[in-house]
Each structure stands twice: as structure tokens, then as C-alpha cells.
Symmetry: C2
Subunit: 161 residues, 2 copies
DNA sequence: ACCTACCGGTTGACGTGTCAATGATGTTAA
DNA sequence: TTAACATCATTGACACGTCAACCGGTAGGT
């Protein structure tokens, strides 16, 4: 009986038109939100969100330094992506790389003073932008719901591979 | 009295730790969801989501063709971005460009037969992926909540500039 | 000792996105 | 008429991400 109805919602069918509309709205709006925050951070502080993530991690690290691999797993990036990004940040004087004393063939990433200053200057405007673009847009209940939705999506992503 | 409490939630302060945690979870998870869908589409059909958006719009257009500018505003892209993307799609034989007969200096974008076939082959796997990665991850109430959250965020983004 | 396998990190090629500048062609106002 | 201006589309420079290949070095097994 469950197999007989073409448009049924059993778990193996395609999304309904309504689900699809919500999907598109959701994915496009969250993408737009991300790029709006990106451009706010850019014009406020000349940093990308990637720069910010790296600088944040280094700021909180012992001696404002981390091994490249640890940094990558800490912020959830592939090593290759981090390597490319560190190259660009090094050119701009935000970080430095040097041979790791303790671990052979390990690279230590250091926060420079200009990097630390940039990060300090960026923090408040960035947090303010998050408030304006995300927190202020939603009711407290919606914020909680957003947290639960994110958790459910993340759990499902993890389970699916 | 409202101004006296440092950590209050009046509307001008920075996000709380809890709000910040939810924000990070939300923005990172939605980004991960997008890239997971991107890679599903890539391995199923050798298309990017950009390709898919362009092919979808052209498929639904009169004569499977559109003026470049109309296409750009239809899918919400900058003309520059579309121009770059069409160049890559043209190299792969998915679309063709020609002078527009009616409008001077207008470019007409045409769906090729291989482009149409690619799109037809991509549709079902893509919809299935949306179901598996998004719809199946959430309860029906959460899906509705996601729609409302997206609408609220979008409205706020639009109002803010 | 030697071969292999892994590990940390880098690199190159390429797709993608933004920004600012350009070219080509219409429209408008002095 | 001509100069200013808007519009449509493209281009080049650059940032960013992924993928696969690579390199140097350490560790295990024979």
C-alpha cells in the first residue's frame, strides 16, 4: 500500500515543490549571509573570514604559534588549503613560518605583531556585524531553532559519510 | 536603567557566547552542506551548481535561449560572473553564444543539445541529493522553521542595504 | 642494510568569484 | 552636431578552494 501512491512521502522519493522552494531559499540566503559578512569584514578590516579564522586560532594559542597541521585540524581545513592561505598571509605580513624545533619536518606558524594588531582591530567590528546580520534578524526562538537545525544537518552530514 | 548593565541584550551590544556558538555552527554547517551538494552534483553529473543554475534557467526559457543580462538577473548573478562562467561552459560545449537578432549589442545564450542532455541526466540525482542531505536530515517542523529563518534573514539583508 | 609505506607540508593546475577597467553602442542634453 | 552618459558584455588581475602529484624524512618489516 505504501508503494502505490506516486507522490507519497516515504523516504525514497524526490523532494516536494514546497521542500524544494525552502531548500533554495535556505541555501541561497545562507550563502548570501556568508558573503555579506565576508565583505563587511573586508571593508572594515581588510581581512577575509579565512584570515580571521587563522588569526583567531593563533591568538588563542600558546605563544601565539601553532604547528601547521594542528592549526589545520583546529579550524577544520585541509592541509593544502591552509598552505596556500598561509602563503598569501605571509606575503601580507600577518604571519611567519619557521622550522619547528621540536618536531622534524614540522612547520611552526607564528603570529606577527602586525597580524595580532590587525586581528585586535577586526574583532569588535566583526562581532558587531554578526549581531546585525544574524542575531538582530531573528527572534530568540528562531536563533535556538537555527542552532538545532544546524546540529541536525551536521549530524546527518557526518552520518552520511 | 537599561544602559547600566554591561552584558544586557538591548540591540546595540555584541553577541553573547551562546549566540556566537550558534552563529558559527549555523554558518559553517550550511557552508558544508552546500559544498557536499556541490561534490555530489560533480561526481554524479560532472556539473557544478553554477552550471546547474544556468542550465535550469535555459531549459525553462522560450526556445531554450536567453539574453545574457536577463539570464544574469534571473539567477541573481553579476554580469561579470556570468560572463566568466559562460566562457567555461562554452568551452565544454554546454551552451553557445551568438549575437542577439532583436537587441543590438545583446548576447543570446543558447542551450546546446549536449547541454540539455547533461541537464536532464543531472536533475534526478540532484533532487535526490537535496532530499538526502537536507530534507531527510530534518523533521517537517524543522523544514518549515528553516524556511521562516531564511525568509527573516533575507528580509533583514535586504533592509540593511 | 634495504625497500616500502606513511607523514607533514608544498606545489601546480584548474574552476570559481569579485572588482575595476575597457570596448562598443545606443540615448540625451548643450 | 557633438559631448556626456548609460547600457551590455567582456576582460584582466587577483583571491580563494580542491585535487592530485610531489618531496623529504621517519618508521617497520624482511
Amino acid at each position: 500500500m505504501t508503494e502505490a501512491t506516486p507522490g507519497r512521502r516515504g523516504g525514497r522519493q524526490l523532494p516536494t515543490a514546497e521542500e524544494l522552494r525552502i531548500w533554495r531559499d535556505f541555501i541561497e540566503t545562507t550563502a548570501a549571509l556568508g558573503s555579506r559578512l565576508e565583505s563587511r569584514l573586508q571593508s572594515d578590516s581588510s581581512l577575509s573570514t579565512g584570515d580571521y579564522a587563522v588569526l583567531l586560532a593563533l591568538s588563542e594559542a600558546h605563544g601565539q604559534a601553532m604547528r601547521s597541521s594542528d592549526l589545520a585540524s583546529h579550524i577544520g581545513w585541509e592541509r593544502s588549503r591552509l598552505s596556500h592561505h598561509l602563503g598569501r598571509m605571509e606575503r601580507r605580513g600577518l604571519i611567519r613560518r619557521q622550522e619547528c624545533a621540536t618536531v622534524p619536518r614540522g612547520a611552526e606558524v607564528l603570529l606577527t605583531t602586525t597580524g595580532a594588531e590587525k586581528f585586535r582591530g577586526a574583532t569588535v567590528p566583526h562581532l558587531r556585524a554578526i549581531r546585525e546580520l544574524f542575531v538582530d534578524a531573528l527572534t530568540p526562538e528562531q536563533i535556538l531553532a537555527a542552532g538545532e537545525i544546524a546540529a541536525a544537518l551536521r549530524a546527518h552530514l557526518d552520518v552520511l559519510r
